[in-house]
Symmetry: C2
DNA sequence: CCAAAAGTGTTCGCGTTACACCCATGT
DNA sequence: ACATGGGTGTAACGCGAACACTTTTGG
């Protein structure tokens, strides 16, 4: 392929803000950099975009290479372009955020990438490059999206209880929610299918398990339905 | 500046979806391409990003160069990266959307750029590259943002009437709104300052003019206030 | 005096909120 | 039996939706 415009070009990277939820708090997946610059620092997983792949593909590829994660929910966040965001040269980075079912991936991520680690959001160390800015943007976006699109389920196991769902919303939004009102509203959408299973844990009554019905959501959405919590 | 990673690089462009509102309908600013590819086609204003400028700067610069527009509201939209979106070579484009006060700029844009023209959204011709996709994304974003952030004022003159504001909302959202309810709600926010001026036009009662108070909005926003229509 | 848009209040219904007790289980 | 989280209904309130007439101007 011929290069028509022979001006110096910025390099292009993708960086991924990977969220997980472990039943109590929101977590972030970071990798420890093995190379300069910022050697030894924690950073968002990511890397250079190849000339023959889309940004989505690059993000998925980097995620798999660096953390072992596959088939996660992934959405473009924002493109960061401060001139000095990389000390080496001009690098523009397209940020993504990913939502993962922590329970499914915890072990794999830990083994595949020895230098990958989950941090509770409040305990996130200082980050390389402008990754702290990216993280801030991602958290804002997650909060916003969670309120009017059913993406929270991407952070929960396929089968979950209403309490888990509520805890997730409380953790991400940073508010307390009324149990009865929350259940009434969520179940009113008719998007959760009760399973013939219960979740047993600890010395108390077992909880009904549900799964989210994405097909039904797709239909409702087309009719102008708005998921809003 | 040294190039550390000597792999082939995609070229980077910015493209701007420029909206205007003329008191009845939403319009889009396009330029006619003078060069191949898509010579003679209509396209979004935009161009290549220089290695020493941010994306925001590039968007503002291109807008000024190609359309004469300055000091418009500008916000990053999405980054488009289909491998074949440009027939020449790999080009990744960061799209922006801009909101302009049509009344202020109509003449300038027409004179500075002979090949720039405003189109009502329904009459937009077929566009070069993947610009139709970009436009679709921009319209969705505009609709979404308009409902929960006070960006509509960017499309109106500094002094405007409540009817103009309502028409804007109706045009963008594609719905009819109740006049009394609309006024009640908007004025209830206490973000519009009534001026000692009226808007006279045609054979009817003159309308009260208002201006938006961005400072007050900033304060309210910090306190968790949500502008929502 | 007529046309055309500006401006103004009230009622009704539904959705959000607030709130407390019993249930099923494990130890 | 007791500790722990699961599960349930109702009443008050507030906000959004529906709705029609008077006012001011120019022609």
């Amino acid at each position: 392929m011929k290069h028509v415009y022979e001006y110096p070009r910025a390099a292009l990277t993708v960086d991924c803000v990977v969220f997980g939820f472990d039943g109590g708090e929101l977590k972030l997946l970071l990798i420890e950099r093995g190379l300069a610059p910022f050697k030894g620092c924690w950073a968002l997983p990511g890397g250079f975009v190849r000339v023959d792949e889309t940004l989505d593909q690059a993000a998925l590829r980097e995620l798999e290479e660096e953390t072992g994660l596959e088939k996660v929910f992934l959405e473009q966040l924002y493109t960061f372009s401060s001139v000095d965001r990389d000390p080496r040269e001009r690098v523009i980075s397209v940020a993504y955020y990913a939502l993962t079912k922590l329970a499914d991936h915890r072990t794999r991520a830990a083994t595949d990438a020895a230098d990958a680690q989950w941090f509770p959001i409040p305990d996130v160390p200082s980050l390389a490059f402008d990754h702290a800015d990216i993280l801030t943007t991602a958290i804002q976006r997650l909060r916003g999206k969670l309120r009017y699109e059913p993406i929270g389920f991407e952070l929960l196991p396929a089968k979950f209880t209403l309490s888990q769902l509520q805890q997730l919303y409380e953790a991400v939004l940073g508010t307390e929610l009324d149990k009865r009102n929350f259940r009434k509203k969520v179940l009113g959408f008719d998007l959760l299918i009760p399973l013939n299973e219960t979740h047993r844990e600890g010395a108390h009554r077992p909880a009904q398990l549900f799964r989210f019905d994405p097909v039904r959501y797709g239909k409702l959405k087309k009719k102008g339905f708005l998921f809003e919590l």
